[in-house]
Symmetry: none
Subunit: 184 residues, 4 copies
DNA sequence: AATGAATGAGGGTTCATTCAT
DNA sequence: GATGAATGAACCCTCATTCAT
């Protein structure tokens, strides 16, 4: 029968994904297929085969990390306190980046369609919040919105690089959001 | 005389450096010794020998890019219009990063003493400007200065990632500097 | 079961070891990883991976050659005809060296813990035989024992260099053992 | 004129030779052309050109070391106290080997015609001494002479390997020469 | 379907030799 | 003729992928 083995395949996919995800948080680990496989308790071949290549595995792992953040972004985009929502969202995004700050680096030079798509959704969520903030008169309207979202998105990455803790993230957010306020 | 052949050595060192520097601006190129050597029109051995290793070559290339920026930073740190100086400096720093946005990534995991030293000088220059800005009442005093400098430094990196052009840099600076103003 | 593929690994490890061992007997061969791999019918990566480096492979190869000799030495050290035992042992040791006379040279400058340990055991065995020979009045007592063992050990190496056949070994042993007899 | 530059060539040949010779006594030095050149105060090209290749340079260096030893051998071969002469000669040979025990190893795999020829002469000298010793009844006659000379020649190398000092050499000689005495 | 050993291209580096200066 | 920088083949090793078991 093929059903039970299919179940195994699903389980192994998840094991590989979990291992890769865990390793993304360890900045000084090599992140080779063999290391991932060992952490997953699988063979190297299984790990590659489960995703069709290392690129796809890492894409899936980073996407898996990003997905709940994006979901949260969609949720917060519906808030009627857009600036507060933006701060909350960016705080969570940055905390995620800080916790897995090897994620971005390990994706370098790889095809990562899932992650790319999620990043776009993330930008959309930010866009909605900014737009709502503008309509509420809480966010400055003198700058092009697409540039603002890009800046905000990339800034999250910046914090990740410095291995920043919560207090640093908070300072950054204070500066960023004060800068986004309408100029008096 | 011992100068003549040395002249060639200097020229080729520069060729290798130029090639590496040029490649730092191409984010999707592999940046192997052989690629650098081919671009420089030299043999692979020559490139390694000229700098004593790939690490040292990349360090030198990035440092070469960073050096004039840092020099400019020292100059601007003496300005008596600190906020304007800060904006000018950050604009130049970010333009540099944007032009060579593979620089930081390619240095990952390498020993890069020159670049590290320059980065420290860069932070010092920013610190001076912020401090002067505070004394002039133009920069907020409610946040720890070392966190501000880190944030600012990392932000420059953020812009680099997005391959941003001048207008994007300008928007970022506007937001950042407005956020750094004393809260009313 | 996990044994089946492991069986191949063991077989190939042995293939690499055999190839290296065979090449140790060819004084004018380069003994690079690739040469060993080709002789073993394996890829270069496999050979390195199987032992964790060229050093370890050569150490293992030489140790593999030395091990039975040392075992025989321990056996003969228990003999109650110490001089006869010494001659037998040295004969076998030299025959081994003669058969693989590139062994020592190829280990030069390498970390070879196994081989080093075996050499020490070898010296100990000789020491025991000489000591027994002295107590039996068959070996001269006028010379320091540690010097004798060194000399004997190194002599075996000497014979190896000349690619000597059995009759040469025999002559050397006659001279050496006559020289070790108590002076009348 | 070509005469003065010829003089320079001769001088540089000697400088290269001296440098190589000196380095042969340092077992843990790399002995690359560049190292030799630096020690000689010459350029790498000059060192290679002076001898037509690294092999020839090392051959010449080792031969230069061996030559006086061989000369001394010829001298001592004329002695009418052959056994005493043999001991003296072997002592000097071994002291030479001990002082330059990197010599042999660095010649490995190289064409070294000069050194090879000298080694043959050295063997001849030993042969003469042994033959004279036999006629004087001081050296055993029951063993083939060519084997004895080989053994003796190779033994000198053995001592070199162990980095032996004078006392070790002396012990070795005592054993060896006692072994060469006619069996009673 | 999973395994994990084998593969082999590609990485940085070394070094005897060559050749423009 | 001397120089020493450039060369490029060869070295050992790593690792994503493949494939016999």
């Amino acid at each position: 029968m093929s059903t039970p083995s299919r179940a195994d395949a699903v389980r192994n996919r998840q094991l590989a994904l979990d291992a890769a995800t865990a390793l993304l948080a360890e900045p000084d680990t090599a992140l080779t297929v063999e290391v991932i496989a060992r952490k997953a308790g699988l063979g190297a071949g299984t790990v590659v085969r489960a995703f069709g290549g290392k690129d796809a595995l890492l894409d899936a792992a980073v996407a898996g990390l990003l997905r709940p953040v994006v979901a949260r972004g969609r949720e917060l985009a519906a808030s009627n306190e857009p600036v507060r929502a933006l701060r909350t969202f960016l705080g969570e995004l940055m905390a995620f980046q800080a916790a897995h700050h090897a994620a971005g680096d390990n994706l370098r030079g790889l095809a990562a369609p899932e992650t790319t798509a999620l990043r776009a959704e993330l930008v959309t969520a930010v866009e909605i919040m900014i737009d709502a903030g503008r309509r509420a008169g809480q966010v400055r309207g003198d700058l092009p919105i697409d540039v603002l979202t890009t800046i905000i998105g990339e800034s999250a990455y910046a914090v990740a690089r410095s291995g920043s803790g919560p207090e640093r993230i908070d300072v950054f957010l204070t500066v960023l959001l004060d800068g986004l306020r309408p100029s008096t």
